[in-house]
Symmetry: C2
């Protein structure tokens, strides 16, 4: 374990539009994640409006608590935007034209065939104590201050501009200036098992983790992510320790792991299908196109996605998908018998290796005692067999659609892997 | 204009998982919007971690700035969760069992067939100075404090639990206790026109708005919302003034208005289809099921949605949707000729009044000079005619899918209304 002093950061979002709830501040969350990755501890996040008093107070409070102060917003050229003049006041310096910044703004407008206005010229005037950080994606530059061993960075509130400034300037500068612990993260992505069951399966392994490797459970709709974070000196050592620990836990939960780090379930399925040169087609009823949308969100999905049919009524399940009328009458649209025919027939119609089908009562209306809202059948047909699963979900229509999507994709994943027992 | 003193609020989110970027705080944004609607001014939002020092400091700072302090998070039964003991410390009182709260927790678990654990019993122990506010959706109760003319409310961080407590208890209590200005909001929802063009069409109307009616432009993907906010004394007067102003602006932008307040484009289309007793079916290629998903997200959509086909390859466009092979060869899948056949054939296949179709290059790969990534054709077929539209979108796959969805739904809306000139 390293003995480096903890480096503290505060994140400040500036703008009335945030406090009034007109715009959601996603910047502070993103910055938190990036700082966490390099071992900087965020101790406070604040949002203040466009008022001199609030902003000056927030500057002083942040300085009293943190080594690094990162600000977003309040940098527009209009008079409501106060960040720049208040930074000059706080650091007791003038605002002057930075020729390099003027050149950047001019070239920004030239490329877009627009003329420079006097307001835009103002954006090239910066506090004399700051270092000018060019913003290639917009007209408000970044401003970097170093004073009394603390660093400050002011960035525009437009997310993609802020992200580029953070990744290319702020993070590298912070790493250079502050002695940070070496940290290695890896996320194991699981599906098809709840957090407490997962915790139960790996509790002995978790208990034996060394104290410099931390485990976090990050649950989201139908998924649980396990994040391993190792702290130490040498990145190669941490990486091999984490990989060893993953090697130990993998056999315990192998069936549930679909990927690592940022990989999504639909991307993981795409890789499996491409690798085995197999194709998939879907017959969606209650999920109404959602699963097809997930699959086709992945670049290159046309290599393995053949197509889908969404027959939203019994009549079309019969005439377009050849589900037998007797089956629909006897067992109903929401039944194992119906999803089996749907999955097998869609597989043939689209000349696919896998046929995935859903039928259920998404709600909020339409349920009855025997088949309440949230009852869903899913099936996956493949060469020689068809597997099915019944889900008993919630009262919420959108949640039912999303949970059906996760369960169906997982059924497909297990079918491709031949792990359907 | 009312002369009521401005009532100030501060929102405090508590939890290490927020500062580390593991969970995104969407609560503070939602609370901001709700307070803005009733004329309470949010002056600060803060996020602090699970540390005694930070939380106590945040309490004192919030008290110095605001009349209303709303907190979320830090209410779990485990020892990391500090909000409750620190509130007791801050208000200098004991924590004691509240029998009514115990009964609520017991019944919560009983309904779910689970047993009460000692940790759960702890959740029914509350600071003696607080008023117990039942949380029907979870086990951590709300706690309401009134002291020195200020009110405090602590709520769980789980969004749907917090929202119910806010809507049913906090907002009504705040309205009762504080003299708030009378405010009337109405949002006009538009589609198919950019913010600056819209602003240009209504600039004279905007200039003539009285000073107590404010206009805000709220743009989002393919949509622009216009929010009118009137301040005054009598709600009926404000309402009729705003309606009058909307009556004036409506003729200028009628074609672009699809609804008001929270209505979505897909809901508006559902209402139009139900009212005219018409049905729709879709043939989606580049949008891959996304438009069907939007339509079927609306409760009751089975009344007017017949179904969809997603033929992702030319072969299936031909064999399953009868698009002529000659058309596909001569003009390509991404062409006006192809989407016309797709929309007309899907309309017949699903016995629908409207047939909506998309075909394009979503990207990131697959474009060429003549048809770069982002080239999309959409069509809507109806009795006697078929209308088409070419879109030139972006380099981003997901953005292209979403923008195709908005444009196609708008084409359908205009077709139902007979406004396709």
């Amino acid at each position: 374990m390293t003995s480096t002093k903890e480096i503290k950061a505060e994140i400040l979002a500036i703008g009335d539009e945030l406090l009034y709830g007109q715009i959601m501040d996603t910047n502070s969350h993103w910055i938190s994640k990036e700082l966490d990755k390099i071992g900087v501890r965020v101790v406070r996040r604040s949002t203040v409006g466009d008022s001199r008093e609030s902003i000056m107070a927030a500057f002083a409070e942040a300085e009293s608590r943190a080594d690094i102060i990162l600000m977003t917003g309040g940098l527009g050229p209009t008079s409501d935007d106060l960040t720049k003049p208040l930074l000059a006041e706080y650091f007791n310096c003038e605002i002057a034209l930075v020729p390099e910044a003027l050149e950047a703004v001019r070239s920004f407008f030239e490329k877009r065939g627009r003329e420079l206005t006097p307001l835009n010229v103002l954006q090239a005037h910066l506090p004399t104590k700051c270092q000018y950080i060019p913003n290639e994606l917009g007209t408000a530059p970044g401003m970097w201050f170093e004073e009394n061993g603390k660093v400050w960075m002011s960035m525009p509130g437009v997310p993609h501009e802020m992200k580029k400034l953070m990744s290319e300037h702020v993070i590298p500068k912070i790493k250079e200036i502050f002695p940070l612990p070496t940290i290695y993260h890896k996320v194991i992505k699981t599906v098809g098992i709840g957090e407490s069951w997962l915790a139960d399966l790996i509790k002995d392994w978790e208990k034996n983790l060394p104290s410099h490797i931390k485990l976090a459970y990050l649950p989201s709709l139908g998924h649980v992510k396990l994040r391993l974070t190792a702290f130490g000196e040498k990145i190669e050592e941490l990486q091999s320790e984490v990989e060893m620990k993953i090697g130990e836990v993998k056999p315990l939960i192998d069936k549930y792991i679909y990927g690592y780090n940022n990989e999504t379930l639909e991307e993981a399925i795409g890789i499996l299908l491409k690798r085995s040169n197999k194709k998939v087609a879907l017959a969606e009823s209650c999920s109404g196109g959602y699963i097809s949308h997930l699959i086709t969100s992945v670049p290159g999905s046309s290599e393995y996605f053949q197509g889908s049919l969404i027959p939203y009524h019994n009549h079309f399940k019969n005439i377009l998908l050849d589900v037998e009328n007797d089956t629909l009458k006897e067992f109903g649209a929401v039944s194992e018998e119906t999803v089996i025919q749907m999955s097998e027939n869609i597989r043939k119609k689209f000349e696919a290796d896998f046929g995935l089908a859903s039928s259920g009562i998404a709600g909020p209306a339409g349920g009855w005692a025997e088949k309440p809202v949230g009852t869903v059948w899913i099936a996956c047909a493949m060469e020689g067999k068809t597997i099915t699963k019944k889900l008993q979900l919630t009262q919420d229509r959108m949640l039912n659609i999303q949970l059906t999507g996760v369960a169906a994709l997982n059924l497909l994943r297990l079918s491709i892997l031949g792990k359907t027992e």
